[in-house]
């Protein structure tokens, strides 16, 4: 369980990115974080694993106050939190396997990682994860030889290799085409459901978020302006989050993308059927 209390972030440049954000995420809950660019979404998820140092407030993962751990304990705290990045952020010149195993860096000693002698248990887990995300044929390919969707699958496997208690996901579909985006979102949500993993997904595509997540938090100028079920996300609420013009522009762009919309509809039917079977 993740509990965030009155989180503050003010950058040295004077930007007040987060103004007292508080919320709690239950186990297995997938939270979509939406809001216009500059609303503080990226700062928020980076504060949780302290890639960005928060300037105030507290972050509890289980019983540990992550915002208060020392530099040396930060390593232990970070390995409990898996992160999936926009543009994948794979180490491009390493192989798929090395990228996935890099998820264990917080656990193994420097010498083991230098010589690439990871414990067999870690390797077994990596094989299983690579199979789970459907990349068994690409174990020894270099990451820069993969397509966008495949790379993001490696990114997911790397995060899961950490045995995380929480997933932080930063714009996972920003550089993917609509079909691959939905596949990736579905994969993430399935895995979270399988493992009862809580996740925070920072996402700009509202329709995609509504399709998959359990709960949506709307962020505007560093403050929470909406927190609820995706179905409660009406046009009024969205206008409040994005501002009138921006929201209408975004919606218009979506309307024009008729093919995409049709595909979304088709997928929703598919998903409904899928859920019925489960």
């Amino acid at each position: 369980m993740l509990r965030i209390e009155a989180l503050e972030k003010r950058y040295k440049t004077g930007d007040h990115a987060l103004k007292g954000v508080s919320f709690t995420v239950q186990p297995g809950q997938v939270v979509g974080l939406i809001g216009p660019s500059g609303a503080g979404k990226s700062s928020l998820i980076r504060c949780i694993n302290r890639l960005v140092e928060p300037t105030g407030g507290r972050i509890f993962l289980g019983d540990v106050d992550i915002s208060a751990v020392s530099r040396s304990d930060l390593r232990k705290a970070r390995r409990r939190i898996g992160m999936i990045f926009q543009e994948y952020a794979l180490v491009e010149r390493l192989t798929v396997m090395e990228n996935v195993l890099s998820g264990r860096l917080g656990y193994v000693s420097f010498w083991r990682s230098l010589l690439r002698r990871f414990p067999q248990g870690d390797v077994d887990k990596a094989f299983a994860l690579i199979e789970r995300v459907g990349l068994s044929d690409h174990v020894d390919k270099r990451a820069d030889a993969l397509s966008g969707g495949q790379r993001q699958r490696v990114g997911i496997a790397r995060a899961l290799e950490q045995d995380p208690e929480l997933l932080l996901i930063d714009e996972p579909t920003a550089s993917l085409d609509p079909k691959t985006s939905r596949q990736i979102m579905r994969l993430i949500c399935e895995i979270c459901a399988e493992r009862k993993l809580p996740a925070i997904i920072n996402i700009h595509d509202v329709a995609l978020a509504q399709m998959f997540v359990d709960r949506i938090i709307g962020l505007k100028a560093g403050e929470i302006v909406f927190d609820g079920h995706p179905s409660a996300l009406t046009n009024d609420v969205l206008s409040r989050i994005y501002g009138d013009e921006d929201w209408n522009a975004q919606r218009k762009a979506q309307d024009e993308d008729a093919q995409d919309a049709a595909a979304v509809a088709a997928f929703e039917i598919d998903r409904a059927r899928h859920l019925e079977q489960v």
């Binding site: 396997m97 090395e98 690439r116 067999q120 390797v123 077994d124 990596a126 094989f127 174990v139 020894d140």
Partner: protein
């Protein structure tokens, strides 16, 4: 494949065993080569001298410090000569390098069979020989003095500017040249309107850059008799006047820093 199967579980290794050994052998070979070279190189080394080095260094420092600043007034004229040597040498080098570069570039050379290899040979020969060695040769031919220095700088600059310039010419956008040619322009006009505008900033940048390097190099050409401040350095070294040497080093350092600053400013303004 680094993935193998044993007892039903997949085992992953960073590299296959043979590649691992190959890499290991490669590193071992490098270490062996290094040790061998070290042995050969130090056959004539007298280790007592090396062990004595800290004392020598201390001795050197006490002689060099404080610098004899009064010597400075006898350095201004050599410094002026040094700067002239670098500047005139660079200009001369540029004048020769431009035609050589056009003859060497694949897209402007009149003949790839004969002229281009000749031009490339000029560039390679000029580049392989340091300006100090050029100066050494020229001093024996022309006698000590500034002329040898200027020519040495120029000879070295031909290769540097020639190479960068002919590469720049080969990389130009051919469609622009074609468009100019299509208007019915003659060969020189094509050069003026189609090629020169594309390479001019790069050319000026590399010229200023070479001038900066030449200032650096011209300060030491006097060591072999080619004039400038290096002559003072040589005569001070000969009489072990380290307090004068330190003044010269300080002046050289200032000159180099200033020329580097000027060159960076000018290149910034051009590009």
């Amino acid at each position: 494949m680094p993935v193998s199967h044993a007892n039903g579980t997949a085992i992953w290794q960073h590299r296959t065993t043979s590649r691992q050994w190959l890499g290991f052998a490669g590193w071992l070979g490098l270490v062996a080569l290094f040790v061998y070279c070290w042995q050969v190189m130090n056959q004539g080394t007298i280790w007592a001298f090396v062990a004595d080095a800290p004392r020598q260094a201390g001795d050197l420092l006490t002689r060099a410090l404080p610098p004899r600043w009064s010597y400075l007034e006898r350095l201004w004229l050599p410094l002026w000569d040094t700067i002239n040597m670098a500047t005139l040498g660079t200009l001369l080098g540029i004048v020769v390098a431009i035609p050589v570069a056009f003859l060497a570039a694949r897209n402007t050379t009149p003949s790839t069979a004969f002229v281009r290899p000749m031009a490339l040979l000029i560039i390679v020969a000029s580049r392989s020989i340091n300006s100090l060695i050029w100066a050494l040769i020229l001093v024996t031919i022309l006698g000590p003095g500034l002329l040898a220095g200027i020519l040495a700088i120029a000879l070295r600059s031909i290769g540097f500017i020639g190479k960068l310039l002919y590469e720049a010419i080969e990389e130009i956008d051919e469609t622009q040249v074609e468009a100019v040619r299509a208007t019915g322009a003659g060969a020189v006009q094509v050069m003026d309107y189609g090629i020169v505008p594309q390479i001019l900033p790069a050319f000026l940048g590399m010229s200023v850059f070479r001038w900066d390097i030449n200032i650096r190099e011209s300060t030491i050409l006097g060591l072999v008799g080619a004039g400038g401040i290096g002559l003072q350095l040589q005569s001070s070294l000969n009489v072990l006047a380290w307090s004068q040497v330190s003044v010269i080093f300080a002046l050289v350092l200032c000159t180099v820093v200033i020329s580097e600053w000027v060159s960076a400013k000018v290149r910034h303004a051009i590009i």
